[in-house]
Symmetry: C2
Subunit: 218 residues, 2 copies
């Protein structure tokens, strides 16, 4: 069993704390904005990718705005089932929020096909039609961000997003869709460039939820 | 709407094809093993991270072995709900397989706490106790890989894994746990180093499923 001796012994309950120690150490003297630091570190924890120390862009007070919204019972809408699945719904429910996701709705697929748009774009319209305060969390589809941008430009949303988490990943219009959001006067957390994903989206939501609970982690 | 003019017009149905074209172009003359190429490209598609062109390690014929297993109706066990959520279960079901995940079982948490091990380690034991051929897909917990390694070394599995997808992410024992699997005589696809995740795990499964269906994508 010699190979197993190479493992560091860390109790299950301590693995996350130890991981954050390593992340902090490796970030070294890199200057993170203290207001957003836990969000950035949780994304690095989720991806093992230190690029996010540079990629993540926060509008003024975005973290505090997201935390306040969650505390007030704000719900979250996601563009993928996978992001919905990764969000800590137990903590969210404690504040009164829930996760909405319309991607599996049969009529969303039909409508998207008929109109020649993506399902994700239709899902953003469904979310807006809920007519309630929401945090919009986009981990996959740039077309969802573009549709959000259009609706905001058209003044078509009775409840503009409390916060947009704009972290789609990919190669077609991903960079551009995120720049659209960065230029809007709406609170946002955006992963600039091509990188992102449902895991990053969920990690950002969970960081906000743990800050809202006053826990580093639960 | 001048900002929107910067977007490339791509029909929804063509976005993925266009993304793969860009990935192939940017890989340039980098030599990927043709047998595993579609798996590597799908992981890059999911992460926008070209590191995976170097990080992904395939044991001999791992892709073909995974594809054959899926075609024969092999089921998949994952260490996170998020990976389970990202796998194309419609295609999997067509071959007769399903996704198992034990992380939410109440007695798993209780047993893990009592024994001082992680829930993920207990989940691997639950999977082994199903006594059937399985593809083990680990996107989060190195402790799941370590427990798999131990069970295999102890000869404690009536059905050794058809394939191990070992792509946990993180900082504590992640690198080491993946090396344990690389040294085993069991078919495996491993993301060497710290990177990986539930999204990478699901992407690898989906690449195998699309190869099994004879489709580049569905």
């Amino acid at each position: 069993m010699g190979e197993l001796d190479k493992l560091e012994f860390v109790k299950p309950a301590d693995i996350e704390r130890r991981s954050f120690e390593i992340i902090s150490k490796e970030l070294g003297d890199k200057c993170l904005d203290a207001r957003n630091e836990l969000v950035v570190k949780r994304v690095i924890h989720t991806t093992a990718d230190f690029d996010y120390a540079d990629n993540l862009v926060f509008s003024e007070n975005a973290t505090a705005i997201g935390v306040q919204a969650l505390k007030a019972g704000c719900s979250i809408v996601t563009d993928t089932q996978m992001a919905a699945s990764g969000i800590n719904k137990r903590v969210l429910a404690r504040f009164g929020g829930q996760v909405h996701n319309f991607m599996q709705d049969a009529d969303v697929a039909a409508e998207a096909r008929e109109r020649g748009v993506t399902r994700s774009a239709v899902c953003m319209e469904r979310a807006a039609a809920l007519n309630k305060p929401l945090i919009y969390v986009i981990g996959n589809a740039p077309t969802a961000l573009v549709r959000l941008y259009e609706m905001l430009q058209e003044g078509a949303m009775s409840f503009p997003p409390q916060l947009i988490v704009g972290v789609p990943v990919g190669f077609v219009n991903v960079v551009e869709s995120k720049e659209l959001i960065c230029n809007l006067d709406v609170p946002h957390i955006v992963a600039r460039g091509r990188k992102g994903g449902s895991n990053v989206a969920a990690a950002i939501c969970n960081a906000l939820l743990y800050l809202a609970s006053g826990d580093a982690r639960e």
